[in-house]
Symmetry: D2
């Protein structure tokens, strides 16, 4: 049994905890730390049989019986806690992004050198049933050489302005998942990025220096021409689709829905909206990424999504930002490590 | 060029005429007869270059240069005009049903014996792109032996009560197409019929002795279990679907629509209603059945849908009627020829 | 917390147990009985924290702290154990069918009289997301008065001949779910049944007196004309669809699939097969039916599927059998209670 | 009746001629000119009742009874013949592109000034049922303000290298339709273009200086971010889709297919490939554009697609070319008129 400490008991920390308790074998959560440890969190932990509840995550790092930690605290703490956890010889699962700054991620990469520790980054969508089916088909050569890739990623509603302010911007907060998906689907790195972005949904987002709508075209190293389109607000809900077109065929996925029911009446034929948001849409992928993390530890195998993937997606995001600032395509090589 | 005379210039007569003029090769309409020949019909005929317009169809039968006639007059005249046309050595395309009475159809069958004349019945749906695809796949063995067949046939709106009165009833007016379709799709005759029918849409239909909703189960001679469901009124429009399930797979078709457009909004995802009614839905099939009739004449080949098919569908309709009257399954053999 | 004893640790017993442990709140499994209690079962139970493992289910019935039992043993034991459990004042969740004989079910009904016990029957499909969506729409009047209902239920592969022998026959083993679904979807009882059945898949099934393909038409008490089609073997896998057509529209559902991925290549556009069989397809419904059972106990509310539903579906199955034997439609009233 | 002369009796010239003869009211083709007038063309013309067949199109321009000409000759002749036809006071329908050079198109624009002549350009896709449905919904405000537009346009097979050489390149030969579609769908001009192109299908195409795969992102004047993706070879055939996403919803279209049939078997669920190529896919749109042209003349109304639209699409194509050459986004304003 892999013994796990959770750092950060917010929404995503709780989700991972419950998944480990109910749905992941060979792992158990033994301790939880949260800078705002409350009675509510304690009661919830107790109901899951978890008795060690701390305010200070360092207590978790100090406990010898804990094998691995999940870093689910706020983004700016990901890298520093990662460094301390590595120092304490804990395996680490770190929510995305590792950090908004490249040098901080590089410090984590350096710290991992020579260590026999697993370090997985929370790009859960790689474990999604739809996207995984595309990747597997691409790997098997079912569509031949990839030529064109289209990723659509639109949220049902924008986050609060307070969140937007500290989010790192659309590209590092939202598109970062799509950048990782692009790399994953065709198993290739990005070579060059050209991005356009605008404020079409909420002027407040513009006032704090961010955008809410974007179209990013990319050249992948394997020659694939790729495009990602983003919106912070789709009237019909969470839109998560991908299409990879190659020399021998195409793979495309559509949105998951609550049911397959179609209502036909005098207005037409009506289906349901997509599953509401990432918690509903990617529920299974969260379970599968955690199982994969535990398997990596138990079987001493490489993690499915490593710190290098965390670095790359941030670099692409920075290239996209720079592309908008300078109004020209940016090569990933132009981003300094 | 096959020279054609049209008998009956109502909606379907005009449709066939225009199809021959515009879309069927090696045929031309040279004369039109209608018991209510009007100036409007004459002007329409003239615009198509047709100058011979008669009140009496016998004038058409008397003209030596006319090779074939299309009988598009009212149902009760189909059989008598067929007999006269055969007598006059004309090839015949007769709208369905040949007659509502079996002995009248038998007279036509007898009259055709020993004659080298083509006689095609207007079961246009056999030429529909969707249903033909099923039939061809069944023939090629793509689904193995057929086990279960489901035909859904629902109209967008019931006909007028005046029409219902003389229609011969739901089974001989509407379901007759579906009976023919059942025989066509699995290339087998019907052995036994069990029908249920009800008046669920319009009480007036019940008052004139007809039904507006029906469910007919059938055992085909090749062992397929089949079901047809009918309604005179589908809120979402004309519903024409079929499904054949066999030992190796299933073929199913859905409705044709005006466009593939889907509107996604806060209510869900919405597609258009099916094409409105038989004129829109089966437009191409009307052209193809006429081309097939002309080809049969020109190439001296058997017609695709003969008088025997016209007979069989009426016999199944009678068995369905009898099944409702007697509350039991009826073998086709019980229907006297 | 509702304390639960499991009777029968086969596939379905284990599934319910794990669901309660992982996914159902306010309930815990405290004891398990199986006539063939093995070390394997004990280890499995222990891994779930369940320490009381018995060969004799009577031990469970004798334990005062146990509130409810799940009867997951073989069909012929359902009724007798139900009676004993009721006698022991346990709430009961009983897998379907309650019994293959009506008088046995009536004994259970009688035993429940005057008792404040919950008795739920395992018609899990009532909790399926697709079918529930139809039922809710029908209840809200979204399709007006139901006129026609079509239920397709086909298995990916027939069970073993040994199972077929003791199954009670297609209608009581397989179609029983569809009979219950018919009653559920339009919220009405069945009035009359006409069934056709055949052996089209495996002659061995015929040799032991059963059928493998069936088409059942029914008249519901509310006037709906309904049809169920069954096959023990669909080449493309588990086929579970329903369609309810009414005066104002239609609701239809299609099969759930492992992913939404479509592969387009020189052969056409290809989607995946449906989820393999009932364990995959109805996974969520098993969880939801158990949650519903526990809720009924905790909130002292009526169960969602009661013993009366268990009785009715068996009566319809018997009417279907009788219909095939006598070659005529059978009214449910003709089945003696 | 509008009397029409056809200039150029190749594939598209014949198609328009037959459409006018069979399917367009208030118009008749009275003369045909082709620089390679053959007996085959003469026989075909005669079968349609057209007796005036010339080698020299100037004979058509000289004939007083001819109201309008269709210029269906090779691309390099479009502009010069347009000028002569305008001089001869004929209405003109000109196949796309008007010319590959902007100054030539400007000459046509100048020649039209002050004339009461109709001049329509052959962007037939504007009359397509799918795309028209999107445009109409956008106009009605059904999706609110457009934010993101995606156009996919892929051919089933590349043209011959000989054709590629004189085609003007992918952007002016193939994408030109998509540029026009982009302007049409959101009713806005293009402001800026960034294009990437590559040779991924056939090296021979690269050797003659063209590309076969492209991804073009555009900023529209109304703020919409748009992307077009092109391939000269899709294994599954002709792929023509569009999606417009706006503040209140999204409209998307999929490909038309020969039938709605789905084959389900042990491999999955399979639909047919899209209609083969533009003649099959856009058959109806060719009829409707011609009807629209005739209506413009008869009712003295503006044409649906004018010379200005012809100009704009060429300018966008040139901007796309320049973008690839210079590796930067190009504003349409940078293209000199």
């Amino acid at each position: 049994m892999v013994k796990i400490g959770i750092i950060g008991a917010g929404r995503i920390g709780k989700l991972h905890t419950e998944n480990i308790c109910y749905n992941v074998k060979r792992a158990e959560v033994v301790a939880i730390a949260d800078i705002h440890m409350t009675d509510e969190i304690k009661r919830w932990a107790e109901s899951l049989g978890i008795t060690r509840c701390y305010k200070d995550y360092r207590k978790i790092l100090a406990e010898k019986d804990i094998d691995a930690v999940l870093i689910c605290s706020s983004t700016n703490t990901h890298a520093p806690i990662s460094l301390e956890a590595i120092q304490a010889s804990k395996h680490v699962f770190c929510e995305k992004p590792v950090d908004l700054k490249i040098d901080k991620i590089m410090e984590v990469i350096d710290a991992l050198k020579g260590k026999k520790l697993k370090y997985q980054v929370g790009f859960n969508r790689r474990f999604d049933h739809n996207f995984r089916t595309i990747r597997q088909a691409v790997e098997k050569g079912e569509i031949g050489d990839p030529h064109i890739m289209k990723i659509t990623s639109r949220d049902p509603a924008p986050p609060s302005i307070d969140y937007v302010k500290v989010s790192g911007g659309l590209f590092l907060d939202m598109t970062i998942h799509d950048f990782d998906m692009a790399r994953y689907l065709v198993n290739s790195d990005v070579e060059e990025v050209y991005a356009r972005g605008d404020v079409l949904i909420d002027e407040e987002i513009g006032k704090v220096g961010d955008i809410d709508t974007a179209l990013i075209s990319m050249k992948m190293e394997n020659g694939t021409l790729a495009v990602i389109d983003n919106s912070r607000k789709a009237a019909y809900g969470y839109d998560q689709r991908a299409e990879v077109f190659g020399s021998r065929g195409m793979l495309s996925t559509s949105n998951d829905k609550p049911s397959t029911a179609i209502l036909s009446n005098e207005k037409g034929t009506m289906g349901e909206k997509p599953l509401y948001f990432f918690l509903e849409r990617y529920m299974e992928s969260f379970r599968d990424e955690m199982t994969s993390f535990i398997d990596s530890i138990v079987n001493d195998e490489p993690v499915a999504v490593g710190v290098y993937d965390g670095l790359k997606s941030v670099m692409i995001g920075m290239a996209a930002k720079k592309s908008i600032e300078e109004g020209r395509p940016i090569k990933i090589l132009e981003i300094e490590i």
